[in-house]
């Protein structure tokens, strides 16, 4: 047994919760596969059975609609008995030969963790079959029985930094690290543009804006171009500070915390810039770092958003919502909903998140008075039952809530990951005034459409 969970997150089962029915989370290796897609020249190999890689690929592909190659060390019975070392070594050599990667990210699975494979030791002693191989190999511990895909994502990002980021000899002003969390490719593109417009030299990690939302190919690209360069990750220690988006992420899984403690780069934790207040805060931070004026263009975007809030507020005011999904997204969405006058009466984190209630209480001190219920480690069965009991006007979260929403007869606003039943998930925008605008329009239209459909009067003027 090689149980390496370092965090205090609850990884045990509470009595009476022996079953998970329609899970509202995926397993942690999926998050690692997603994070490694955001590094230039990187390939992920999952150390476990062939099915893990294939299922995770299928799941990611159905959301992003892009080729996603994830290798597997394809365990057999002998591997499980004698250990995965030889499979891992063969797998690394084959990935290296077939993909010529710059980086191979090895993520473990429940199987390789349970049999106690010491991946770090195998990598340390490895001599590549190809003496000319130059690729960097790193590992992340992602046993599927700990946490959720969000934890796997953060851990993989942290492993990139801990393995690659070098001690810096000097610190550069206006150089910034940004850890955006599980953002959409379109949000990542927006983020990079904004940072550039502010004159910042920013490293966004991970950055799968091109690798998971790119153009057609004229020939097969073994590794799609794009992603954060290894060079940039190595230099992250020389940044003035790290901006990390999140509310509930475990400090032990945080890349920015590691950089602060080990490379002396100040960490600024902030929620993702969704909503006027959160976007204002984000832009004020950028202004503080750069001394730039608030750009007129952004001012105009902000103006249009508030105008939309005014035009649309009656459609949403006092409405009740159930919010679910990754803890950080739930917290971010809850703050946005409160900002527009919607009460997020149920905030459910799908993963087992330590003290999620405290996190929410910190963000919304009067949550009891507002009638907000907070759940962690919730599956869709819990979410549906709670939603039915509390009563909501709509649900907001990933597409897997569709069945519950349908049974409850409430509309669903699709946000986050996965979105398997709609088109264009990679291009969903949430961040900044403009992203908030899109979400607000979508939300209002979803409610209007629901009312229109529900009414027998056939109004063509709402």
């Amino acid at each position: 047994m090689n149980l390496k969970s370092t965090s205090k997150t609850k990884f045990t089962t509470e009595p009476g919760r022996e079953v998970t029915q329609d899970a509202c989370r995926l397993c942690s290796p999926l998050g690692a596969c997603l994070a490694f897609k955001g590094v230039e020249g990187a390939v992920t190999i999952l150390h476990g059975s062939q099915g893990c890689a294939t299922y995770i690929r299928r799941y990611l592909i159905s959301h992003f609609r892009e080729p996603i190659d994830v290798a597997s060390t394809s365990f057999t019975e002998e591997t499980a008995v004698f250990g995965g070392k030889s499979n891992l070594l063969a797998g690394l050599d084959n990935v290296s030969r077939q993909y010529s990667p710059q980086l191979i990210g090895v993520a473990t699975t429940c199987l390789s963790e349970t049999i106690g494979d010491d991946v770090a030791a195998v990598l340390r002693d490895r001599v590549p079959a190809n003496p000319e191989e130059t690729c960097k190999v790193l590992n992340v511990s992602t046993p599927s029985y700990c946490g959720s895909h969000a934890d796997g994502f953060y851990r993989a990002v942290r492993s990139l930094v801990t393995s690659l980021t070098e001690p810096a000899h000097e610190t550069f002003n206006r150089r910034l690290n940004v850890f955006p969390g599980m953002a959409s490719p379109a949000d990542l593109r927006w983020l990079k543009r904004v940072l550039k417009d502010f004159g910042l030299e920013a490293t966004v990690l991970p950055d799968y804006s091109d690798t998971l939302d790119g153009g057609l190919w004229s020939s097969y690209e073994r590794i799609p171009s794009g992603g954060t360069t290894l060079e940039a990750i190595r230099a992250m220690g020389s940044s003035e500070c790290s901006l990390e988006f999140g509310h509930a992420l475990n400090p032990l899984d945080s890349a920015a915390v590691w950089l602060e403690e080990n490379r002396g780069v100040k960490r600024l934790l902030t929620g993702a810039p969704l909503g006027v207040a959160a976007s204002d805060l984000f832009f004020h931070r950028l202004q503080a770092l750069t001394g730039c004026d608030f750009p007129a263009e952004l001012q105009a975007e902000r103006g249009r958003l508030i105008d939309a809030y005014a035009d649309g507020h009656k459609y949403v005011s006092g409405k009740r919502a159930a919010v679910y999904g990754e803890a950080d997204l739930v917290a971010t969405l809850a703050l946005f909903l409160l900002e527009i006058g919607v009460i997020p009466v149920l905030c459910a984190a799908g993963g087992p998140v330590n003290a999620f209630r405290d996190v929410m209480k910190g963000l919304v001190p009067d949550l009891e008075e507002r009638g907000m219920e907070i759940m962690s480690d919730a599956d869709f069965d819990h979410i549906e039952q709670a939603t039915a009991r509390i009563g909501v006007d709509f649900m907001i979260g990933n597409s897997k809530g569709y069945k519950a929403a349908k049974r409850l007869g409430v509309p669903l606003v699709r946000v986050g990951f996965p979105i398997h039943d709609r088109f264009g998930a990679a291009r969903n925008r949430l961040m900044g005034y403009e992203g908030t605008q899109r979400l607000f329009d979508d939300l209002v239209n979803t409610l209007l459409s629901h009312n229109q459909e529900a009414s027998g009067l056939g109004y063509s003027y709402m």
Partner: protein, 487 residues
């Protein structure tokens, strides 16, 4: 791209018809090569796909959350009644369970779920971790079977214990426990007390004494089971309608729109049709040897194969001349309606080239013939789980120059799609973006599909699907086409 070399270990799993060495014999049925990015899944996947459509059974995945989450409602298998199969249940093992064992949790989970959902049976899928922490899943199943009075069956589908094919075998073993549940005498079987078996008792009264010869089984005349038919997008219903018109009774489908009681009745049928042969032949063989029910391999994809299948059934019941007459009438009526519809598609598609990469080779055979019917040739064909005979057949029916692959990967698929200049790829979700990225049309022929492609009407739907993608005007914007135009 031409310079792209295969991994050495993969060389014996790929060949080009007409160019292979004389003594070339394809290597297949092997575990996937580590690091090769196989499109295959695992043992668990094999079991899960075969049993999934049984709609009144509880399917609980014993393991950490992923395996259940990734297989929640992902298939187009329809049910005419209960929909328990479209829910996802798992013991969601945590770190402490992995240390101290998951048996108690499984037991509690089964108790809760059976009380809440009233299933007719429960399948407990063992996943990788369960295989190494040593949970005695059989013992828990036996105990819960006794306690709840329904069959609670362990499916030994630990992901690493073989390939997807071994998962099929585990599923067939589980199905056998239901099919053969009349034989149950001891308490070790996990199939519950006698009270749970009343359902088919009347029908099989004569066989209560055990392994009876088929004559004693009270066989229903002119009746069949359809094995390996998963009712994707309601395909089983299309087939059942054909058999109804022919005067042939369908006792059960395995496992499309499946019900536990119907599966129990399966042994009263006179003939088994085996469609997805890779997945379910082992069960058919067992039913043949134990109950004397003969089986024939069929496919319901493509005009030739559908017609052949229906005639084969009529032929098996040739003592009833009406069946053959009705079959003839049915086929000619269907063809008369179908052929004119296909013509317009064929006109556009003639000369186009296709690649096929599917799970089982048997489907590939049908698709090659079906594509020929709409004017298309297959230049690349392969499967995840084919055997030597399958690849021999594939070679026979493909044209010279066609590339044949076993357990391939994205790099190889793309290499040959480009080299062979294909216009269409037929595959599943994982293959789809490969085609689109290269500017190649795509047709989904996997279990996720929502459009029925079986039977005569399925052939029209198939042609329409292929046509809609191949003839789309958008491909002219693809870089591949742009460079061809320039050249």
């Amino acid at each position: 791209m031409a310079g792209l070399k295969l991994l050495d270990e993969r060389r014996r799993q790929v060949f080009e018809k007409g160019s292979e060495p004389a003594d070339f014999e394809i290597a297949c049925g092997k575990p996937s090569l580590s690091g090769a990015v196989s499109q295959r899944a695992c043992v668990f996947c094999g079991s899960r796909v075969v049993l999934y459509p049984i709609a009144d059974a509880l399917h609980i995945v014993h393991g950490p959350v992923g395996c259940a989450a990734y297989t929640w409602d992902i298939r187009g298998s329809r049910s005419s009644g209960p929909e328990l199969h479209r829910m996802s249940f798992t013991t969601d093992l945590r770190e402490t369970d992995v240390i101290y064992g998951g048996e108690k949790k499984l037991e509690a989970a089964l108790r809760q779920l059976i009380a809440r959902h009233n299933p007719k049976a429960a399948f407990v899928y063992g996943t990788c971790v369960v295989g190494v922490i040593g949970d005695d899943v059989d013992a828990v199943c036996n105990k819960m079977s006794k306690e709840t009075g329904i069959p609670v069956i362990a499916v030994h589908s630990e992901g690493f214990k073989g390939t997807k094919k071994d998962g099929y075998k585990a599923a067939c073993d589980a199905l056998w426990r239901i099919v053969d549940s009349g034989e149950v005498t001891g308490e070790e079987d996990g199939l519950g007390p006698d009270s749970s078996r009343g359902v088919r008792g009347g029908r099989r009264a004569s066989s209560a004494s055990g392994r009876s010869p088929s004559s004693e089984l009270g066989k229903r005349p002119y009746s069949i089971n359809i094995l390996g038919e998963f009712n994707i997008a309601g395909e089983a219903w299309i087939l059942k309608e054909y058999f109804r018109k022919m005067g042939v009774e369908v006792v059960s489908t395995f496992t499309g729109d499946g019900r536990i009681d119907e599966i129990r009745n399966a042994r009263t049928a006179s003939l088994n049709l085996v469609q997805c042969s890779g997945s379910i032949t082992s069960l058919a063989k067992r039913m043949e040897s134990e109950y004397g029910i003969p089986f024939i391999r069929v496919s319901f994809f493509g005009i030739e194969d559908v017609s052949k299948a229906l005639y084969a059934v009529a032929d098996a019941f040739k003592d009833n001349k009406d069946i053959m007459a009705r079959t003839r009438a049915l086929v000619s009526e269907e063809l008369a309606a179908l052929l004119p519809q296909l013509e317009k598609y064929r006109k556009d598609l003639t000369g186009k080239k296709a690649a096929i990469y599917v799970g089982g080779a048997f489907k590939a055979f049908s698709l090659i013939v079906a594509l020929r019917h709409i004017g298309m040739s297959v230049v690349l064909a392969g499967s995840q789980t084919g055997n030597k005979d399958d690849y021999e057949t594939l070679k026979e029916i493909c044209d010279d120059g066609a590339v044949i692959v076993d357990d391939t990967n994205p790099v190889e698929l793309c290499k040959y799609m480009l080299e062979k200049k294909v216009d269409l790829l037929i595959g599943g979700v994982k293959e789809r973006p490969l085609a689109y990225k290269l500017g190649v049309a795509f047709c989904d022929h996997n279990h996720e599909r929502k459009i029925p492609l079986a039977g005569f009407e399925g052939m029209v739907a198939f042609a329409k699907e292929v046509h809609a993608s191949v003839m789309s005007p958008i491909w002219k914007f693809a870089p591949r086409m742009a460079s061809e135009v320039k050249a």
